[in-house]
Each structure stands twice: as structure tokens, then as C-alpha cells.
């Protein structure tokens, strides 16, 4: 073994000293100088850039992200509920720069999968050997009639964190006691399946304390929803009479909005809201369509071992943009997919075959300031397809045990700290 220092143990003990725990040691030693570009500096992309650089230290890793600051969606429902400051959601890219990653503050405007190039907003063209796309979601404007970018400044979606989060928070603060808050939930698939119901819980928590005459109405395009028994139990225990949900069996999908009149319409009724949170239908970030990696669904089919696009060579797609069901569109998923994609890219560029493994996801949802519940899944990616491992995973127990729910709230806080540290340093 030319030029290498010997056994795995030697490598690990030699290199792990400065490294953080558990497989994030700089264990790879392939010195191939490949050009790796990552588009999107969110949970998937920032993590991918970091781990690509770690596994392939001699490669040139470029991260393309238009924003100087990233606002994390996980825990943004606590901001909306008045329990957390928006500044706690903000992360930057200096940590990645410090690792030798070239962070280019620009938008990827176009991708040519044949020429292997990315065109930036500035007009610059960057060439890649392998490209990782983690562009998250874009909103399907006008999928709900009347819901366009202008409407979102009156009826915020707050499904991308930052200014939208603050807008919804401020509208709730300014609302008079007695006002009706209406939330529209789209049909699956969408980013963060339990997210609307966590938000409903935390809005109710705010209303109960500050606007006790107000109510929250959920107009839901879904029949069933994530963690349903746990949320419903919590709503009747903590917020009796405060939350009403109309599910799809009641034909409660919002089909049109009129922001000027603050009206949301289903096929059967018109509802006038004091504050309207419209969570609209979504698709993979628009650059995925430009790259030709999205299919007719608007999402990106992948090989679940390498996260290689099923449609274009040498492009990998991770995070919310992918078709990864049963794995949900979560920051936890995006982070793990990024690490696994980086590991398999390191193997591929070194001439090793990809290797299947097991994946997990855990999503915590807050029910109140200090109670949370979780859902866990274990998945195999054998054969390039994600499948749930039977008999494992599942929900926190029912029964509203304050100790269990308190522990899960504390675990959620630790998870947030760790996952943001892994992505942004």
C-alpha cells in the first residue's frame, strides 16, 4: 500500500485526536484532486461541503449559496410562538471557509449536466467533476389560486425561515384578542411533515397565554398526519377548544386565497382570517429543474446509496429536493444524507464501489415550551431504494407523561445544537 500509513487503527488513532466524535474523523486518505461543487448552503449542502472536504482533503470544494446568513427552520416554530429569538436561528459560513472550502456568495442560475458546469448569477462559469445539489424547496406559486409572492407578504408561509418567520410572529403579536388564526396545510409531500402541527401547538400555546379569546383553525389537505395521536392528545390536554382542524375528508383543502380580503377558500366555504399562515404546495428548489434532475413530480429521483441523480450523471441530490420516502424531508435526513453522499463520493472518486448501509431519522416536535414528542425511522438503502426496517422506529408513547415529554424537549435542544454545529461549525 504505497504511501499510506498502514492499518485502519493506525489511521484512526493517528488522525482522530483533533477530530470530533463518531465517524467524523478525517479518515479518508484518497488524495485525488477532484473539483467538487455543492449548490445550496442549508442543512444538506453545508454538511456535504464539510464532509467532502474531510473525506477528500485534496479536492477543491466550492459551496455556492446566495445568502450571507442561513436561517434554520427547525425551532423556528418556537420563534413564531414567542418562545425564542429569531437571532438564535441564524448561522453563517465562516466556519466552512476556515476549513478551506471556497464559499461563493452567489446563486447558481443554470447547470449544464453535459458540459459539467454551473453558471452563477455573476455570469461566471464553474466546472465540476461531481456536483452535489441541496437546494431545498421552492414554493409552487399559484398552485393555490391567488397565492403568489405578493400574497406571501400578507399571508406568510414561513416555510423558509427568516423574514417570513418574523412576519408571521409580528402578525400574531399585533392581532387583537379574539382574532381567528387560519393555517392552510398542503397535500404531501412537503418539507417537515409534522411541522404544521408543531406550529399549531406553539401558536395555540401563545394564544392561550396572551389572546385567550382567539382560535386557530387548520384547513388541512391531508386526511391523516404525522404524529397525529400525540398531537391530538396534547391539543385536548393543553389547549382544549382552541384548535379546530378540518381534514381532507371534510374537503378542507384551500384552493384559493384573496389576500386583500384575508379570505381563504375551500371547495365549500370561505373563511376570513385575522392572521393567515398559508403553507403552500412545494417542489424541489428551482435549480433542480434547470439541472434536469427533477422529474414530472417536481422532485428528484435518486439512487439512495450514492444519492446520485437517476436522471443525470455525476450529479448527486440530497435533502428536501429528493424523492426519499419513506425518509421524510427533514434537517436530520438532509444532514445524514449529506454525510453518506460525501462518503460514497469519496469511495467513487477513489475507484471503490458504493456500499449500502442503514439510515435513521428522528424528528422532535414541541407541544409547548417544555414538552416535545418524536418520531423515529430506520431505513435500508439496499438496492438503491429506501425502505423502512419493520419492527423498529415509531412514535413517543401516548399518555402525556410530563417526564418523558420534558426529556424529549431537552433532547430536541441538544439535537439542534449538534446538527447546526455539524453543518455550520
Amino acid at each position: 500500500m504505497t504511501g499510506l500509513s498502514g492499518t485502519r487503527r493506525d489511521l484512526i488513532t493517528g488522525l482522530a485526536a483533533a477530530a470530533a466524535l463518531a465517524g467524523i474523523a478525517p479518515i479518508a486518505t484518497a488524495q485525488t484532486s477532484v473539483r467538487l461543487i455543492v449548490v445550496g448552503g442549508g442543512f444538506g449542502g453545508a454538511t456535504a461541503a464539510r464532509f467532502l472536504k474531510q473525506f477528500l482533503p485534496s479536492s477543491a470544494v466550492t459551496l455556492i449559496e446566495p445568502n450571507t446568513d442561513y436561517y434554520a427552520c427547525p425551532f423556528s416554530n418556537l420563534v413564531i410562538g414567542g418562545l425564542r429569538d429569531l437571532s438564535a436561528q441564524r448561522f453563517g459560513y465562516d466556519g466552512l471557509r476556515g476549513l478551506g472550502i471556497d464559499v461563493v456568495q452567489d446563486r447558481a442560475e443554470d447547470i449544464d449536466p453535459v458540459a459539467h458546469s454551473v453558471t452563477l448569477g455573476s455570469g461566471d462559469v464553474l466546472a465540476y467533476d461531481r456536483l452535489v445539489l441541496s437546494p431545498g424547496i421552492d414554493i409552487r406559486w399559484n398552485a393555490i389560486e391567488g397565492y403568489d409572492a405578493a400574497a406571501a407578504s400578507i399571508m406568510p408561509h414561513a416555510w423558509k425561515a427568516g423574514a417570513q418567520t418574523e412576519l408571521l410572529r409580528n402578525q400574531l403579536s399585533a392581532m387583537e384578542d379574539g382574532g381567528l388564526v387560519v393555517m392552510a396545510v398542503p397535500p404531501a409531500p412537503f418539507r417537515c411533515p409534522p411541522g404544521p402541527y408543531e406550529r399549531a401547538s406553539l401558536i395555540a400555546n401563545y394564544l392561550k397565554a396572551h389572546k385567550p379569546k382567539s382560535r386557530l383553525l387548520i384547513l388541512d389537505a391531508q386526511d391523516k398526519f404525522s404524529k397525529q395521536p400525540l398531537f391530538e392528545e396534547a391539543w385536548s390536554a393543553f389547549y382544549p377548544g382552541l384548535i379546530e382542524r378540518r381534514g381532507a375528508e371534510d374537503f378542507s383543502r384551500v384552493v384559493a386565497v384573496d389576500p386583500a380580503r384575508m379570505v381563504l377558500s375551500t371547495e365549500f366555504e370561505e373563511v376570513t382570517a385575522a392572521v393567515a399562515n398559508v403553507i403552500p404546495p412545494q417542489m424541489a428548489g428551482e435549480i433542480a429543474q434547470r439541472a434536469g434532475v427533477a422529474n414530472a413530480t417536481g422532485w428528484c429521483p435518486i439512487d439512495a446509496v450514492t444519492f446520485g441523480s437517476a436522471l443525470q450523471p455525476d450529479i448527486h441530490v440530497i435533502g428536501d429536493a429528493t424523492i426519499a420516502a419513506p425518509m421524510p424531508k427533514s434537517a436530520f435526513s438532509a444532514n445524514l444524507q449529506a454525510k453518506l453522499c460525501a462518503a460514497q463520493v469519496a469511495r467513487l472518486v477513489s475507484g471503490l464501489p458504493p456500499e449500502p448501509t442503514l439510515l435513521t431519522n428522528t424528528c422532535y416536535s414541541y407541544l409547548s415550551a417544555d414538552a416535545a414528542v418524536s418520531i423515529t425511522g430506520i431505513y435500508s438503502n439496499e438496492g438503491g431504494k429506501l425502505t423502512s426496517i419493520a419492527g423498529a422506529g415509531g412514535l413517543s408513547p401516548n399518555g402525556m407523561d410530563p417526564v418523558i415529554q420534558g426529556n424529549e424537549a431537552m433532547q430536541a435542544a441538544t439535537w439542534f445544537r449538534t446538527i447546526t454545529q455539524q453543518a455550520f461549525g
Binding site: Q31, T32, T362, A413, Q422
Partner: protein
């Protein structure tokens, strides 16, 4: 790394990247095997900073294996770790335990 090996890697990569690797490069990434990728899941929650998810720093292989097997075997357990470990075989748990103990060793 020697230039010869680098050339070999570039050759392997520019021709058929999915082809089985030559033996030399099979040893290039010794730790990016299935065990390492299994363990990549752990670091999303467990960091040296600890907190409500314990740090695994300094834990022995036996201690980690004992905890993981206890979670797996406790049919009445309800925590995230109980729910998760039901999905892993004992062979996987052995490998993860050895790997974590080794990579987190001081």
C-alpha cells in the same frame, strides 16, 4: 501518496467509477466502509459537548455495546434509542460499538 497510485486512482475514476476497485485502492479508504457509514448516523445527535444526548467520548467498546444491546432488548422501552436499536442487528451493534470506541478514543 505516490504519483503512481494517484495515476491509478485517476485512471480508475475516469474510466468506470462504479467498477469494482483494484485492491490497492480498496485499502485507500479503510474507514469509509459500512461500519463507518452506520456510525455517521450517531454524530447527528451525539457530540463531544454532550447534553441530553450523552457524549460518547472515552466510552469503551464494551460499555457502548452493553448500552445499545440493552436498548435493543428492552421490549417495553420507549425512548428514541429503544425505537432505533430495534432496527439494528447484533452484528451491526458490535461493529458500531468497536468503531465508536476506536474513533472517539483520546
Amino acid at each position: 501518496m505516490g504519483t503512481a497510485l494517484l495515476a491509478l486512482l485517476i485512471a480508475a475514476c475516469s474510466t468506470t467509477p462504479e467498477a469494482p476497485a483494484p485492491d490497492a485502492s480498496a485499502e485507500m479508504l479503510p474507514a469509509l466502509d459500512r461500519t463507518a457509514t452506520l456510525a455517521l448516523a450517531c454524530s447527528g445527535c451525539h457530540s463531544p459537548a454532550g447534553g441530553a444526548m450523552a457524549s460518547l467520548e472515552g466510552r469503551t467498546e464494551d460499555a457502548i455495546r452493553h448500552s445499545l444491546l440493552t436498548y435493543k432488548g428492552d421490549a417495553a422501552g420507549t425512548t428514541v434509542m429503544h425505537r432505533m436499536m430495534r432496527g439494528y442487528s447484533e452484528i451491526d451493534i458490535d461493529a458500531i460499538s468497536a468503531y465508536l470506541a476506536e474513533s472517539a478514543a483520546p
